[in-house]
Symmetry: D3
Subunit: 240 residues, 6 copies
């Protein structure tokens, strides 16, 4: 592949911005944009934990994910008879990613719900949701610290996520919608500041793919996550 | 009442802004803000009409309404097992208001769905939705005209809506959440450029109220709607 | 309009009868007929209040509304996957109307549920429901008084409702189904013995309507409600 | 057992009345009362048949059953998230009973839906529904004949139903609610004018019961059904 | 009828096998086969009883019934939006049958749920479920005895069930799918070791049937149940 | 780790058996056992394809997954109000895996639904489902070939799946339930005969894990899949 359709190099992500404090009510919030994908992440602190967790003494972090009907190129129906399978898969992934970097014992009997609402969808909404949700969560935990609800912040390190894929035979970083629709392999990586992997999800969209392509995609993705971690750090520094 | 809690006079609405073209995909869109209430209105043009309307030869205009979970002061659950009664009431009201100013025979076999998604809720979300939706609808119909899908715009005149109410015994224009929560009477008015009424919905929250208070609220509301119609006109002129 | 299709004058309501004590089990009951519209209203007293109300110390009054499938000219499906939007709107309206004349602190920890089941529908079912429900509620509260569950009746005054509308350009009282289907404006009024307004809901079915038509409809409706309040008083006197 | 709690002999049914033509809209209707049990049966004729039956050339007869919330001694919730198991069992039984005496080929491409709505429930609501539904169905088929929709009536003979049971060791006919609640065996019989059985459903509520008790209950029930068939015949003769 | 399609005499049941202990986890289990019909019955003991039964001091026995999608000749959809009417009817029948032979006061605060999952369906699945479920229940109660959860087994006697029907004019025992589909009368009998009847459910599939056919079917079924009770006894003896 | 709790070496899978032709009705079927995990896989061939695929000219392969309530150590409720999120995730994974090795254009206008019903669950149910479903699918396609519905088999190569994980710090193959519950990392691999990857899903259950552990797990899993592919080949050869 000489060049991607929008002029990016294979190893180049889209421009990223993370704006914090975007809603007056949520305990933590972040509006993340990666290219034309925009996700509003709000973290809500609530007293109490789910019933099955009550005896543990620890808190809970969970996530919900949804798209506005016209976030997409053509209108998508609202999920008013329960979340679809894809939606449930995504919100479970976001929740697991956030919990992997949170010390839930430090939360005490509180639940933090991070809502990831996609305002515009141009590919990579689930990975942008994770990256933005981590910032909203960190801000909510700072708020809890300020209110004296916790003794120290429960987030151990930051977590970010990126998509990679094989497009026209070439491993590429951060696919947009057009690339994603035509990719031979599609993969999402979730990893932390210390370089640890949280989730690896790779899928052959057409033919099965060889192990060396998997390795190339992992290399590309880990480098891309470093960029995202830096953007998170900057946004959180600006919010202080 | 000497003065309202935010310093407004009884007959004074909150600052209003209407931003158009805010999403890259929708055929028409508007982001309306009245004070801290913010609603994203997107109009989607789709081929075809509901089955029950197919033989009529005319088009259809409908609306959906939802709140982001953290649009509110504390988190509200998503309506994932069908819209609640209040939500249905509101989206039926928005739809009726838009249809009252649209000549649906001119639409041909098309449906325009206007989604009103509340990003922040500080009172008056249903009236802001109507006022913003009218702008998004007009823009979508201009787009249809540009695409040659219709011969002339099907919107006959603009429609806007406002809330009025009795707060501490005084008739007030455009209640915010705090005022609304304590109002003795709560009323929504929907009216058009030519001064016609589309909907009048007044409710005693506590004791029944006398006819003369109804008349005072109607006076107040009709004046407030004029201001909103001017803001719509300005936004649409800027969008040309 | 020279004359209405059934020979009534514009300001003339349909014949009204209210029969009490029509079911052997309910604590209060009334069968109201306005023309061919017939609604069975039963009031059930139950111990306890909804969970969200438990700390208030006060009772609760709520309503449900439904139609028998063949109450209508052609058969309507049962609402077996939850009440439709229109049904929810109506039962919320009935509940609000009843609560506006009830002192719920006097009820103690009891809930009164008034079921309004439409046996025949010829227009005006929601207003007939309110007028009949008020009688059933009053009888249930008398029963509570007799049982020593309350110290005095919690209904402060009676409430009744009527529909008015513009038919063939003329403001008319108490529309039947045929008139309602062709009305230009449709309006429901709920008001009390002392002349207070509880709800005003006016809707342009076609073109928006001028303020003076609203005023004419209000005049017509308030007079019609007086007749209904008299019929309620007579039915309750007969029931003593 | 010396005597039943309401003074009836073991082989004596409750007083029965069947009133026809009780609603202005339905093609056939009957209000049946057996003691304090009252069921409104309306038969609605609709064009077309269910999709799975379209190729058969024959019509269809079906039934729905419901109780008003306060048909019962204490209030029962509406079945708004789908009919409960018991309700489905009953409406399937009513439908099968009606179809057993109908020649559906004569109906042509029409569906007759018989709604059985219980206004008061004092035991035996399912059997009263069948007995009343048969009358409403016959009237609807007479209407079809009058309209020229069918060439001759499709009902071959009448069908009726009764409950029998063992109360305090004695086989009894037509149990009311109080007897039903304490019965050792509960049985429903559906049979036709020509003495044919359509359904036999007997259940031990407590201990299993011997074959001779089954035989005694069958004898009692068949005699009771004769009385019901006579009441149907009289009601239909009066309706001519 | 000279001979049945599979060579059986009218009064001959299909070969029956009952295998116990077929799953490693359930407290009691039985795999019953009658001809090509195969049902896996597992009994699960759980602490606690349903809320409405809590004050009784007694335990509870309940049943669920389902078919694997390809248990049938052509694939049947899973019941993922709630059990269908037929399914509910069947599982209520299984539950009632089991409870008729269980002394629930002896169970203490425990619920036994017997799941009947049909692996292959060739007619008679509901009766095979009852016969197999009784064995699984007895084994679960022996397990409770072994664990010291009960003082003596709560099953008073065994219960079994069989289908009978009129095929080509002849009363036949234990119909398979092909016979069942063409039967004029279809009947299920549930009875106990001591010869008591628990349930009798006979239905005319086409024309109503005379009382003497009912009697013939009862005779045939009671004899068939004796064979099933013997097979249960053998399986339970082998399991000791 | 000296040794696994059941005596296996880290790189050793559980005993595997695949039995074919286990149901008389399905077009293809396989009962797979890996240790105590047992899954019944049935492939059903149906005419037609989902509506959204009709214009493509190609066929469709899909999968459903469910557990019997007592497949698990303690009873799990049936999913009667729609499949849970986890279930949807699994059945989407099975479907994607099967489609990755099927040439759907060769299927013509047919849908093959593979039902994976877990009879016993001791870890690895989703991977056993994929491995067994592939055999059932291949048999159904052979049946289609035999019936002349397709010209040649549409399965290009076999696909199998295995779980791997980090248990007590050691990478292990084919975790059972006890190991899975305590694993630090859990990973599922789906791969084909030609060595191509179809899916890679790795999740940190506790702390994030380093890239070299991912590489070790991939090595272990790919070797394990070879064993499964051999078992599939043997079962299919025996079925010829």
């Amino acid at each position: 592949m000489a060049e991607r359709h929008d002029g990016r190099r294979p190893d180049q992500g889209r421009p990223i911005t993370i704006e914090t404090g975007v809603t007056p009510y949520a305990e933590g919030s972040a509006l993340i944009a990666t290219g034309d994908t925009r996700v509003l992440c709000t973290a809500s602190v609530q007293e109490g934990v789910p019933a099955w967790r009550e005896r543990s003494g620890a808190g809970w972090v969970t996530a919900e994910y949804a798209m506005l009907p016209r976030a997409t190129h053509t209108r998508t129906s609202r999920e008013r008879s329960g979340p679809r399978g894809r939606t449930q898969e995504i919100q479970r992934l976001i929740g697991r990613s956030l919990r992997s970097v949170t010390d839930m014992r430090l939360l005490g009997p509180h639940t933090v719900t991070v809502d990831c609402d996609v305002l515009q969808a141009d590919g990579g909404t689930r990975t942008a949701s994770i990256t933005g949700a981590c910032v909203a969560l960190e801000l909510a935990l700072r708020w809890m610290l300020g209110e004296g609800l916790v003794e120290r912040t429960a987030v151990r390190e930051k977590v970010a996520a990126v998509s990679v894929g094989i497009v026209d035979g070439t491993p590429c970083l951060d696919l947009d919608y057009r690339e994603d629709a035509g990719a031979q392999v599609d993969m999402n990586l979730v990893a932390t500041e210390s370089g640890g992997l949280v989730e690896v999800q790779g899928t052959a969209e057409g033919d099965p793919f060889p192990r060396r392509e998997l390795d190339a995609l992992l290399d590309l993705g880990m480098a891309g996550i470093d960029t995202l971690l830096a953007a998170q750090a900057q946004a959180l520094a600006d919010a202080s």
